[in-house]
Symmetry: C2
Subunit: 203 residues, 2 copies
């Protein structure tokens, strides 16, 4: 730890720094297989220092995943559909924002849905994930109240939205949406089909 000879013994805000560094590394790589020691190295502290702030690596991963869910939720909440004349106008922007978040942060998005396997932390993690779902659920609920969405249970229809968007995001990250197989604009096509399925035929 002799990089900056005049760096103080105590970092001051190592917890934050570790998280920042880890997020940076997630942004650089495709997989989330970074090592805790590398994070410590980049943060300029000893390899054991992070253990003063996280009980183990899984805890850091869980923390990162939670941050990811929070950011995604904020992103979706901040996405407002302007001039929502049709149901498609209502749903498409938030859906595109969701998929874009995933393709822009592939390693983080993957981690968000992989860190839950570990322990009881998965419960908290799932709460954050479901908070993301709530954003879409609320929009759809309003759409149904306005009469543009079918009168089926809105939870089930929202589940269809989440499944479709989550699935498309994952497939996109995995490079499986190749134009030869799936057409040139698979997300547009899928959104079109989804909207037809949600739309109230009575109107």
């Amino acid at each position: 730890m002799q990089d900056a000879p005049n760096r103080p013994y105590h970092h001051g805000d190592l917890r934050r720094a570790v998280i920042e560094t880890a997020l940076d590394m997630l942004a650089e790589e495709k997989g989330w297989q970074f090592t805790l020691r590398e994070v410590a190295r980049r943060a300029g502290v000893s390899h054991a220092a992070p253990y003063k702030h996280f009980p183990d690596k899984a805890a850091l991963l869980a923390e990162l995943a939670m941050i990811g869910f929070d950011r995604l939720r904020e992103t979706l909440s901040a996405t407002k559909s302007e001039a929502p004349k049709t149901l498609h106008d209502e749903i498409a922007p938030i859906s595109r924002a969701y998929v874009a978040f995933g393709t822009d942060n592939p390693a983080l998005y993957r981690l968000m849905f992989s860190a839950g396997e570990e322990k009881a932390e998965g419960v908290h993690l799932n709460q954050r994930a479901l908070a993301v779902f709530d954003v879409a659920l609320e929009i759809l609920r309003r759409g149904q109240a306005a009469g543009s969405i079918r009168k089926r249970p809105i939870e089930g229809q929202a589940a269809a939205w989440w499944g479709l968007i989550h699935g498309m995001t994952m497939l996109a990250i995995d490079g499986l949406l190749v134009p030869e197989k799936v057409g040139s604009a698979p997300l547009d096509a899928a959104l079109g089909t989804l909207v037809e399925g949600l739309a109230n035929p009575a109107t």
Copy 2:
């Protein structure tokens, strides 16, 4: 390696045995984080023996993922919808079979969509994945030819199917389809919405 004192020096079919053992371990655990050495131990060989058959761990993982895709494709191909009177009858069985495959083999299914990040093996892997997609694509194509599916590009509509089913499978594996949030039968609901979106309104 003194378990069975009269075991021959050469295993005879270690490649197969390693794959079998790894698949067994995949079936036991939720994550796919098994160690190569543990596989070797279970197979009763030294920890270096598997390297005679796989260049590295990633190669074994890729092989397992390919097997997974092949099994899934076979499962779907073997799922025939009996008495397909409606479009729903046509699509629901294969969709349910897909999701069931995922929830029955969560670790394997996860691995299938995680092993591709590594190298150029991802290309072969994606081919196998797309072969799964082809099964559904063909069914939908026939449905469109029969007039029960909208006259939009079938690739895009098939993409919607894959996205939705893959997404629901992943969410189910992650335990995110909690009834309080998403209703008691989210897959049924999502399939209902999907079928409405695919169905040709002219008929």
